[in-house]
Each structure stands twice: as C-alpha cells, then as structure tokens.
Point group: C2
C-alpha cells in the first residue's frame, strides 16, 4: 500500500474514533513509519494516538519522533507515563532525547525516573557533546572468558532481550578490562563445550569515551564494524556504539561539512523546521566577513583606475572581463579545495601529502590553464568585437592580457585551493572552512592584481 | 602498538626473510590493516606477502586491497591461485572487484573459475551499475515458514559459515517469494519448538534489483536496518545487501554530490592516485561552460559602458563595487542551494515543499539583505572615500545605488539558490549540479543588470 493511502486510512480510523482498529492497523506498521505518521498530528491527536499505541512499541516509536513532537508529548503526559516510557527506552536513546530538550523538560523527566536510571542518565549527560561516551549505550552483553558456548547461549537467552545487540559478545577479565570480542555467528558455529577464550578475537578494535564521534565513525567505517566497544581511561569496558548510530553521525558530520563549505554556521535543525530568523543568523556572519574582505578587492580596482579608464574601448573591454576572471578563479579554487577537503575527511589525504598534492595541483593547473588560455585568447579577439560598436581597440595584445591573467589566476586558485584547507588542518581548524566562498574571496583580490599588472606592462597604460 | 611501529616490524621480518614469523605477526592483525600494509609493497614483495598470508584470510585481505594492487596481484599469480581466491570470496566482493578491472583481467579470472560461479558472476555483472542488483550478495540464509526454531538453528550451524550474515533469517514460500524476515535475536529468545511463521515479521522492508543504490541507502538509513532483502520483478527473493556495503554507497554518493557541487565531473578514483591529466579532464568541461556563460555577463558591462565611465570618480566607485556584489551574490546563492540540495538528498525536503521553501528563502533574504544593505550603505559612504584622492563624488545617492543593488542581488540569489536545485530535481536532473558555481554564474549576470539599472535610474547617468 502506498504511504499516502496508509496515512489516509489511519486518519480515517482516528477521525471516526475507531481506536481498536487503529491500534491493530498500527501493529502492522514499522515503528519508523508510525513515528512519521504521528509527525503530522496536532497536540491532542498526538496524545491520543500515543496512548492507543501497543505498549511494547511505544518507547521505540517515541525514539523515532521529532524533537518537537517529543517535547509536546512529554509536556502533555503524566509522570507515571514518562517513567514507563524512559524505562522502556534504550539508555542511549533516552540520553539523546534529553540532550535535545529544554532544561525544564529534562528536570521533569529526571524527577520521575528511578534513582538508578537517573544516575546513569546523569553520568551520560556529562560526557562532552559528540564524544564516544555521549553516543554509547550500556545495553550490551559482557562475559568472562572461561564461560562455555552453552553457558553463553543460556545467558543470551536470559538477558538478551534488553540488549541493543547480541551479535557481538564482549569478553572482560575480573576487573572489567576488555580482553576480547566474539561474533555470535562464530560462537553458534562452534561446539557447545568450547570455552569463549578459545574462539574470541584477542585484538578487538575499540575507542575511548572521550574520542570524538568523527574518529569513531572513521574507525567503524575503516573496519566495517557492526558495533564498536568503548573503554574508559583505565581501559575498562563501559559501553558500545552500534553501526546505525554511526550512520547518523556520518550523516551529521557530512551535513556540517556541506554547511561550512557554503559559508554557513552549522546547525542540527532541519531546514523546513528552522525559522527564517535563525536561518538568517546562520548566514550573516560569514557574509559580513567576506564583504569586509571584498572592500580590499574594491580598493585594488580604485588603485588601477587608469587601466580601466584607458581610451579606445580598451578600458571597457578590460572591465567587462572582470566577472569571467573572478568566476573562473573562484570555480577553479572550489574544485581543488573540494577534492582536498573531501580527501582529508575520508582520510585519503594526510598532511604528509602536502607537497605531493601541491605538485599535482600545479600540473593540473598548467593543463586547465592552457586550455582556458587558448579559449579566452580567441574569444576576446574574435567574439567580443561582434558585440561592440567599435571593436578596433581589441588587439591581440589586449586578448593576450586577459588570457594571461586568466592563466595566472587559475594557477593561483588551484594552489590556494589545495594549500588553504591543508594549512587549516595543520592549525587544527576545520578544513571545510577553507572552501569555495573563502577561497573565491582571496583569489579575487590576487587575480585583479595580476590582471592589472599584466595590463600595465603589456599595454603600457 | 602504533601503526608505524607495526609497519616497521612487518617490513623488518620481510627484509630478513623470516616468513614464518611474518605470517604469525599478520595473524594478529585485522584484515583491513594487512591490506593497508600491503598497499605500500612493490610487485614482488606484494606477491610474496600474499603467498605467506594464512589461506583462510587471504580472500578477505584481497577484498580490502586497492584496485591497483588487486590488478598487480592477479596479473602475477597462477590460474590455480586465482580460482582458489575467487572461490573464497563472497560473491558481491568478487563482482565488485571484477567491475573495476580491465577486461583482460576479467576474462582471465572468469576463465579460471568453475562454471557455476562464472554463471553467477556473469549474471551479477549484467545488473546496471549502481543498482541494488549490482550491490547484493546471494550468501544469505533462506527458510520455509513451517520450520521450527530448533530446525532453523541446525540449518544455521550447517550452512551459516559461508553466509554474509546470519543475523536476519529470510523466510520464503515454495515459489521463493519473500513472505517474512526474522531477526536471529528474536529467534534465539523464542522456545525451540516455535514455528518461524509465528514469530517472523510479515511486513519486511525490501527493495527491487533495479532500484538505484541511492534509494537503497535511503531505505536502510530510514529504517535503521542491518541488511535489506532484494527481490526481482516477480517479488522473488534473490539477494540481500548488508549495512557495511550501504555505508560505502552513502560515502560514494556524498562524494559525488560534493564533486558535482564544485563543478567537477564525478570520479571514483582517489585523489592522490589520479593522474593530473585525468584530474584536469574532470574539471575543464564545466569551467568552459561557465566561461561561455560569463561572456554574456561581460556583454552587460559593455552595454552599460556609460555608467562605468561616469565622471567625478562615480564610475570608478561603481566599478570597484562589482567584485563585492558578485561575491556576495554567489555566496548567498551557495548558502541557499547547499541547504536545499542537502535537504533533498536526505529526504527532508521534497518537491511538494517548493513554495514553502521559496517563501522561507524570501523571508531569510529580506533579513540578510537588510543587514548587508545597512552595512554597505555606510561603508561606501564613509570607508571608501578614505582610500581615494577625491572622494567627493561619493554621495549618499551613490552609496544607496550599491546597497540597493546588493539587496536585490541577495533576494535574487536566494530565490535562484532555492528554486534551481528543485527545478533540476523536477526535470530528473541531479540537484547537486545546481550548486554554487552554476548559481554564481547566473546570479552574476542578473546582479550586474540590476546594478546598472538602479544606477541609471537614481544617478540619472
């Protein structure tokens, strides 16, 4: 059935007050879809549908709801309901949820949960934002290494229900140090009397609680893991992070890169749900910074007034090529910086490759520059005069000035596009800040300077 | 131990010909790390190390090697070795590998493998690039619905070793139609006599063989799946795709978006491994297209020659503000288009939201435009004269012309930045093509037109 038909049917049952049937219909759906359906409901209906939901999936559905709807719901339901909800949620989902709520909601939720859960949540809320600790869950299965496969299976059957994953077993010593991991599949294929220490992987990949989520994502992606254990400063196992949470991290980090590369202040909010005022606020700072830098670009033009006012239509031709020069410079810089920034963030390029990359960009710039040099030389000489009343001023020398300035601009743009992101990384800044807008602004200034210098030298203005 | 220390130790053992110890040392490492170590070896050493590798992991290590090293290796080893290697690889890894190889290598590999495997590989190679069919693997476990938990566990123990995942069981009817899925964890927690049909999920999420990988990634991400079943036109189960392969797809698609947004022809090759000539080839087409469009921008300047040659330093002031106007327009367009493109690709914005998004951008543009209007008005009136010999020509009217043109440019840039990616999507083009470079080029032309029209009207030139 199509999604719209499903929505229509659910709405229909809701309108007519046929709650039993509605509950039945929702039982047929995936939790993600139910959450999506509830997204469109107003406060009253939201509360009604939430109470109609089968109890065993309501915490799951809640995890998938948007922050706005979560908040609306929490503010409408009673303490008992909140307590039941938080109890049924996985700890990492509960923590994620509370991190996004205003403090009044957090306080109310923490007041209603029992002491043990509250202490755990508080402990998790203390991990720095975007650290492995803030992402991890404590719902994993931990075993001693002398347990047999049979014994382990019994433990899984007894305790596995509440665990986020049972597909990797974590093996610790008596002081909770992680000494190995074991894939469930490997265990199932082993004989029942085997001891876990005989089949476990003794070199498990792990991260520390304070590691940045970007690093965690990199490790998980590098080793194709489904879950990764997290250890504290003393190398004791304190949690795991599962691959689905890592996918969310990768998505978030990538969006942040896109935003920074477009001169936006990064924001976690969905576009359509953000107010115009907030959106504007995310955009103004960098625009102002770049508008201030552009003042200097303007000054260069003022300084070379004589070149642009040159007689016999030469001045106007030179002026009319400024946009092309600036755009090509900006685009060339964007091409280089994008490849370098992406390469750095995927770990395919490291700071050690600085000169290798620069040398590569140099050769690319020579090829690209040569092609555009030839194109520009002929287009200025032969196409521009077609659109002018008196094109006699456009000599080969004028065409050469434009083409040569373009070549110089391309060389410079490629060099800066390559060097600036890597220098930013060296200075522990995010390379993504050195993307197209920033590089365009810097290249503009230098390209105009190159342009006017060549014009003065060649045309003797 | 640090990665560099590990590499040094392995190199040491290799140099000294201590092959037994080298094999032992490699047994302690993850397959991904071994592949990374082999990356740095020349042809002879590569072959030697590959032959030293424990046989049971050599196919895995091979899967993680770079395409260049794979090709080098295949060209060095004998038919027997190729056959053993391909036999040990998961089908999807083998197909991925062959897709990247030159046809001579593909022919040689197919000649050496047995008929059954060859037929399967050939069938997979026929799925369109980037389709679900080309991504899927056939190493999954399939069950009939009347099997008991005990029976299923026996099958898993007997056949699970060669399967890519045993954590989801796929349940089919007698004609191989997918009728349900069952998480292994759910089965383990059920009693041994339960029949699978009683506990299976009867509404499994699935994709079709011809679905695009982007769609597959979206579904997997949306439902937080670890693996997704793939069915053919007749809804028969033919394969599964696992989450680790999906992560690679997401990475690939994101890189493609980054590249398109920077006016690059997308390429699968790693930056440092691509020749300057190939890199240049990926960059030149869009640069030429945009250089051609920029001719028209230049024409607008030629047409308004009189404005720029206006007396009393007004002309030169107006000229000197062109870069600022163009840059700000480009940057504003980039901000809007980036948010829209990213929103479209994450499914947070759909074509139905066209007017909603446009109205939002309109309001954002008014706020951003107003702030930059005020900034520009004062900076042209008070800052620019400081750098000029005779600043008397800069009246409030001149400052107003620049600021008003900037406001108009911002309005236009935001509107185009929002509309163009969505129109591209409507026309079944990739929205990422309508990013900063394209929008900058279009906005430039219109912003100069606005600029000169306002100047003519206000300053009566």
């Amino acid at each position: 059935m199509e999604w719209e038909a499903i929505q229509k049917r659910l709405n229909d049952l809701l309108e007519k007050g046929r709650h039993g049937e509605l509950r039945g219909a929702m039982m047929m759906l995936n939790e993600v879809d139910i959450a999506q359906y509830m997204e469109g409901l107003d406060k009253e209906k939201l509360l009604l549908v939430f109470r109609i939901l089968p109890k065993d999936i309501s915490a799951d559905v809640f995890s998938y709801m948007s922050d706005e709807q979560k908040q609306t719901l929490i503010e409408s339901i009673g303490d008992q309901e909140i307590r039941a909800l938080i109890d049924d949620m996985f700890l990492d989902d509960a923590v994620d949820f509370l991190e996004e709520m205003p403090s009044s909601v957090v306080r109310r939720v923490l007041q209603t949960t029992d002491t043990e859960k509250r202490n755990l949540i508080n402990q998790f809320l203390r991990y720095p934002d975007n650290s492995a600790g803030s992402l991890m869950t404590i719902e994993y299965l931990e075993f001693f290494s002398d347990v047999t496969v049979r014994g382990a299976m019994d433990i899984i059957r007894r305790e596995g229900l509440d665990k986020e994953t049972i597909y990797t077993l974590y093996i610790v010593d008596s002081t909770h140090h992680l000494i190995g991991t074991l894939a469930l599949r490997r265990m199932i294929l082993a004989s029942e009397d085997t001891v876990l220490s005989d089949i476990m992987d003794r070199n498990p990949v792990f991260v520390h609680t304070l590691d940045d989520q970007e690093k965690v994502a990199e490790v998980v992606r590098h080793y194709d893991l489904m879950a990764i254990p997290v250890v504290d400063k003393e190398d004791r196992l304190v949690g795991i992070i599962t691959a689905d949470d890592i996918m969310d991290v990768i998505e978030e980090e990538t969006t942040e890169d896109f935003e920074k590369m477009a001169a936006l202040t990064p924001s976690d909010d969905e576009y359509l749900k953000t107010s115009p005022f907030k959106l504007a606020l995310n955009r103004i700072p960098w625009l102002l910074v770049m508008a201030i830098i552009a003042i200097f670009t303007g000054l260069i033009i003022t300084q070379y007034e004589d070149v642009l006012q040159a007689t016999g239509s030469v001045g106007i031709i030179l002026t009319s090529c400024i946009p092309m020069l600036m755009d090509t410079g900006g685009n060339c810089g964007a091409q280089s910086s994008t490849l370098i920034i992406r390469g750095l963030s995927l770990g395919q390029i490291t700071l050690k490759d600085f000169f290798k990359a620069l040398w590569k960009e140099f050769r690319v710039a020579v090829i690209v520059g040569a092609v555009l040099f030839v194109f520009t030389l002929f287009r200025v000489k032969f196409i521009n005069p077609l659109f002018m009343e008196d094109g006699s001023g456009i000599t080969w020398a004028v065409a050469f000035v434009v083409a040569a300035a373009l070549f110089g601009t391309i060389m410079l743009a490629k060099a800066l596009g390559c060097a600036m992101p890597m220098l930013a990384k060296r200075l522990k800044l995010d390379p993504a800040l050195m993307a197209s807008p920033m590089i365009t602004t810097v290249v503009d200034m230098s390209s105009l300077f190159i342009y006017f210098s060549i014009a003065k030298a060649v045309l003797k203005i």
